[in-house]
């Protein structure tokens, strides 16, 4: 449905996106994950034909973004970052305007607007100025304008940013419902969002693609690594000189200090013997007191941090 090939975008000297390629299949909800400044918004602006790429191609439903921008735009509903809206119009007026601009035939216009008002639960604010709405309602108006022409594809740039927890859950449910029929790209810098709503994830950092797969695939990729939490009573410099010599230790970090116990987070790599056992014998050998050894698989968060730092 959407094919991005070797996409690059430069703003002056800033290389915002470098050689990014990915594909989104019909009916898929793709999570576009990356820290701030990674190039998510830029990529979305290119797909929606707002700005052209410096290099590379994008085709949407078989149409090239540079050759047939209007055909591409007709098939896309777009919610830009931070939901810009005409604050001086009433919700109803605004939806009507978008319906006209989207060239929805007059005979269907009322019906489409009615349907979208229902889908996005906007009934109670129809006669209000958009400028007076709460952030949550604004976001729903933003989604409504994106979906009013019933597009096959939705591009949503950080659709839950700035919302309170209840609103976030609402919007996520809405997206999930929409995802059953539509192809969606959804960007976020928040992890739980992806596992909550997406079929597939791509992670982008400093303009480059660093990983892609289903949430569980990504977890598997990193599954060789488990994390070990351990609280050790000993001198910090002793611990930190011994840990690197143990062959299961990939990275470690002091995360907490309590009553002279130092709590470490150790990312492990595959070894012959069990990491817990190794750590235990190292403790015995060095006269450390251990109060905790706790193993955990890498969470999405750890994968994300690992890939983007």
């Amino acid at each position: 449905m959407i094919e991005v090939k070797n996409l690059s975008k430069r703003y002056g000297i800033t290389q915002a996106v470098r050689d990014v390629s990915f594909e989104v299949k019909r009916g898929e909800v793709l999570g576009f994950l990356g820290p701030n400044g990674a190039g998510k918004t830029t990529t979305m602006k290119i797909i929606t034909c707002y700005i052209p790429p410096t290099d590379g191609t994008v085709s949407v439903a078989g149409f090239d973004i540079l050759e047939n921008p209007l055909d591409v735009r007709k098939r896309i509903g777009y919610l830009p970052e931070s939901t810009p809206l005409y604050t001086d119009l009433m919700v109803e007026e605004y939806l009507y305007f978008v319906a006209q601009m989207r060239q929805i035939p007059i005979s269907q216009r009322q019906q489409r607007i009615k349907k979208i008002i229902e889908t996005c639960s906007l009934k109670e604010v129809l006669k209000k100025d958009i400028g007076q709405l709460s952030k949550g309602f604004k976001q729903r108006v933003g989604l409504a304008q994106a979906m009013i022409h019933d597009p096959d594809i939705l591009i949503l740039d950080e659709p839950t940013s700035g919302l309170d927890p209840n609103q976030i859950i609402e919007i996520r449910q809405l997206i999930k419902k929409l995802g059953k029929e539509k192809t969606i790209i959804l960007s976020t810098h928040i992890l739980p969002e992806v596992s909550a709503t997406c079929d597939r994830v791509i992670i982008i950092n400093e303009g480059q693609l660093v990983a892609s797969g289903t949430p569980s695939e990504l977890q598997e990729q990193a599954a060789g690594d488990t994390i070990l939490y351990s609280s050790i009573k000993a001198l910090k410099k002793d611990i930190e000189s011994v840990l690197p010599t143990l062959d299961f230790v990939k990275e470690f970090r002091l995360i907490d200090t309590q009553d002279s116990f130092l709590r470490y987070k150790i990312i492990t790599q595959k070894t012959e013997s069990d990491p817990g056992e190794q750590l235990f014998s190292a403790a015995v050998k060095n006269n450390w007191i251990l109060s905790e050894i706790h193993k955990e698989n890498l969470s999405m968060e750890d994968i994300f941090l690992k890939l983007t730092s």
Binding site: K45, T48, C49, Y50, I51, P52, L70, R73, K74, I76, Y78, P80, S82, P84, L85, Y86, T87, D88, L89, E93, F97, V98, Q100, M101, R102, Q103, I106, Q145
Partner: protein
């Protein structure tokens, strides 16, 4: 309804939902009427010459106030991103906004109907210069609008748009005036005379409709609408 019409309609609505528009119309009407009537009854001449002649100067402030927010606000709010990702071509967006601003201006000018009515009631005016004058006012207004809209599209700041539009309009108005023409090298005189909005306005407002003046206004409008399209496109550079 076509896309251009839909956009123009929404733009026009935006003008009228803002209290600023009403303040603006009121100031425009009070100023244009007062400046006219305070001498009209003394002059005892059934003519709108003075009314028409002051329009370029009133427009200097009035038109930039109409155009300043049109694109600047769109950029500031970020709504331009929504607008330009709708299935609309850049020139359609520019045209829609221009048409809306022209309709707004037309309404304002239509509201000065009290002036010709008074003139007709109190005397027997020559209608040629009055109709020509109104035509000239509309053409000149449209030219200022095109210029103002273009300038609004190069900034996010309404006040900056207002000031620059005012200065550019002022410049274009006076370069054809005699005191400027006397003070520049003779070589430039025909050029300045041609470029100045004022010189073209004078002949039309006397009721003389010369094709050269019409061509001037239409190319002026076309040029700045074209620049406006380029400026909207500039996000792609």
């Amino acid at each position: 309804m076509g896309i251009i019409a839909a956009l123009a309609k929404k733009e026009l609505k935006s003008y009228f939902v803002s209290p600023v528009a009403y303040v603006l119309i009121t100031i425009f009407l009070v100023l244009s009427n007062w400046l006219f009537f305070n001498t009209y009854f003394l002059d005892q001449q059934a003519s709108m010459r003075l009314f028409i002649a002051r329009m370029p100067w009133i427009f200097l402030f009035f038109i930039p106030a109409i155009t300043m927010r049109v694109w600047a606000e769109e950029k500031k709010l970020g709504t331009i991103e929504l607008l330009m990702t709708l299935p609309v071509k850049d020139f359609q967006a520019v045209l829609g906004k221009f048409i809306a601003s022209f309709i707004f201006l037309f309404i304002c000018i239509a509201l000065t109907i009290s002036v010709p009515i008074t003139v007709a009631v109190t005397g027997a005016p020559d209608w040629g210069p009055i109709i020509g004058g109104y035509l000239g006012v509309l053409l000149m207004g449209a030219a200022y609008l095109a210029l103002g809209l273009f300038i609004s599209s190069v900034t996010e700041n309404q006040i900056v748009a207002f000031i620059i539009s005012l200065m550019c309009s002022f410049f274009l108005l006076i370069i054809g005036e005699n005191f400027v023409l006397y003070s520049i090298p003779e070589f430039f005189v025909p050029l300045f005379e041609f470029l100045g909005i004022g010189s073209h306005f004078e002949s039309i407002s006397r009721g003389v409709i010369d094709s050269r003046d019409l061509i001037y206004y239409f190319s002026f409008i076309f040029f700045f609408l074209f620049m406006n399209v380029k400026s909207v496109e500039s996000r792609k550079w």
